[in-house]
């Protein structure tokens, strides 16, 4: 793996079935992402950002259109695509080291020794050497999220998807981890797609910022961020781009009631997940 991939999304449409109604969630999404590019996606809650990442990672496979990785249609999940969710989703019964090793469980390219080395490397990459044997309950939110990042990176995926990974963290930790993520991105040279509702974060990290609008989720505008790294958040140019992104939000009709009803829909399918067919096994 190790090299970065071109990711092409062509005329992607996605609906969710709610009762007997088909709810359009994504409409005609087209986006071409260069190898090693960092793309930020911003949009209000409910506009389909998580759904888009679920399609890209392969957890959802009902859609129209094409998702091509280096020209090949993606099928299901694959170790060449990694993901970090908003919640760390670590296994609480495993230590930091064991959690990261979950990433390599089905990696057939590395020998046992290479795996051990890679795990150590990634523990160091995210700065958790002293916590290798700690359990998740002993970690702060920021540390847990770093473990989740290491778990996603340990396979050296071509693409890393991040779904509001720092959304639940305090401002200091968030700023620190944004910097860390940038360092890791530069070091690994892989393609990254970051979903966030934090416009500053999007501009700070992205080569491009994709602005989405809701109901159904569409791409409203793609804004280039032609600023050298490491970026200064207070610089005039940075602020100007941030303003430009924020202006896109200002004229998006987006009422509060609509958002509340969407959340209830989101919670509807509970408990029905453990069937063998839902697991796709």
């Amino acid at each position: 793996m190790a090299h970065a991939a071109t990711l092409e999304i062509k005329n992607l449409n996605k609906q969710y079935q709610v009762g007997d109604k088909s709810l359009p969630v994504l409409e005609d999404i087209s986006l071409s992402i260069k190898p090693g590019e960092f793309v930020s996606i911003v949009g209000s809650s409910g506009c389909g950002k998580s759904t888009l990442l679920k399609l890209l990672i392969g957890l959802e496979d009902q859609y129209q259109g094409d998702i091509l990785l280096d020209g090949k249609r993606i099928v299901g999940t694959s170790l060449e695509r990694g993901i970090v969710f908003q919640e760390h989703r670590l296994f609480p019964w495993l230590t930091v080291e064991q959690n990261i090793s979950i990433g390599l469980l089905n990696n057939t390219e590395l020998s046992a020794e290479e795996k051990t080395n890679s795990i150590q490397e990634h523990i160091e990459l995210v700065g958790l050497k002293d916590f290798a044997n700690a359990y998740p309950y002993q970690l702060s939110g920021g540390m847990s999220q770093r473990v989740a990042i290491a778990r996603a990176l340990v396979n050296r995926p071509e693409v890393l998807l991040l779904d509001e990974p720092f959304g639940a963290l305090d401002a200091f930790t968030r700023a620190y981890l944004q910097q860390e993520l940038q360092r890791i991105w530069e070091k690994e040279g892989i393609t990254m797609i970051l979903v966030t509702h934090d416009v500053e974060e999007a501009v700070y990290l992205g080569d491009r910022v994709v602005v989405m609008q809701p109901r159904p989720g569409r791409i409203k505008r793609v804004i280039d961020v032609n600023l050298p790294r490491e970026r200064t958040r207070s610089s005039a140019k940075f602020t100007a781009i941030k303003e430009e992104v924020l202006r896109e939000f200002a004229d998006t009709p987006d009422t509060v009631e609509e958002l509340t009803t969407q959340t209830t829909v989101n919670e509807a399918p509970k408990n029905s997940f453990l069937t063998a067919d839902a697991l796709c096994y």
Partner: protein
């Protein structure tokens, strides 16, 4: 475990009761035929332990208890996991399971003794049955409780079905499985004694000993048997608690 004040606090009540027991019998406040003095119980205990058939009866009870527990809990974990994993099993087995659950455990005894008589096989089956319910029920709930978010993680890392069970579902359900096993262990012990009371056979066992004591109006023996039964139950409980705590360190309780 260190012997600190907290551990000693638990000993206060039994010691006080022992003292009261001793006092009322020594002062002749009660009929000592019905409430025997503690020193007589000690004498009987000494005689019994020395004769060797007391240890034998403990051994016989423990054998029934542990074999029944083993059978019942293995079956319970298996059925619990199966029901938790598959809609199909739950739909077909679930209702029968819930109906059977309503039958008091002791109501099984007539049927079991008709099939298997009153020997060890019948007793072990009864013990197994009593351990089975809490284990199956808790395992089922534990498996059902596996979070959707973690199942997605398993899919992202391409878990095989076997990995899904051994690396996610079982560990995730382990707190509830252990709760089930703990309950099962206690139920099994109660069932062992109950079976020995009710399925009277020529075999030995703690329950049999107590029943024989009743027949001979030997209250010392009854009291001694009761104390032993309680003590063994308490030891089981203690061991189970420690194992649970050890295995669940990751919860950071």
């Amino acid at each position: 475990m260190s012997l600190n004040l907290k551990n000693l606090r638990g000993a206060v009540l039994p010691l006080a009761l022992l003292l009261v027991w001793y006092a009322v019998t020594a002062l002749g406040l009660v009929n000592t035929k019905l409430i025997v003095p503690p020193e007589k119980v000690l004498q009987v205990a000494y005689k019994f332990v020395m004769r060797g058939n007391f240890l034998e009866s403990i051994e016989a009870s423990l054998f029934r208890d542990l074999s029944g527990f083993l059978l019942g809990s293995v079956a319970g974990v298996l059925l619990g996991v199966l029901m938790g994993l598959s809609r199909w099993t739950e739909r077909f087995v679930g209702p029968s399971f819930n109906t059977l659950k309503q039958i008091s455990l002791f109501a099984w005894l007539p049927l079991i003794s008709t099939w298997l008589g009153t020997g060890d096989a019948a007793k072990i089956l009864f013990v197994a049955l009593s351990a089975f319910y809490p284990v199956a029920l808790n395992t089922f709930e534990g498996v059902r409780g596996v979070s959707k978010a973690q199942l997605e993680v398993a899919r992202v890392y391409a878990f095989t079905y076997k990995q899904l069970i051994t690396k996610l579902i079982l560990p995730s359900a382990s707190p509830q499985i252990l709760t089930g096993l703990h309950l099962g262990l206690i139920y099994a012990w109660m069932a062992t004694i109950g079976a020995e009371f009710l399925l009277i056979s020529s075999g030995s066992g703690l329950g049999d000993t107590v029943i024989k004591g009743r027949a001979a109006f030997n209250i010392e023996l009854i009291v001694f048997g009761m104390l032993t039964i309680g003590l063994i139950g308490a030891i089981f409980n203690h061991i189970a608690t420690r194992i649970e705590r050890r295995l669940l360190v990751w919860r950071g309780a």
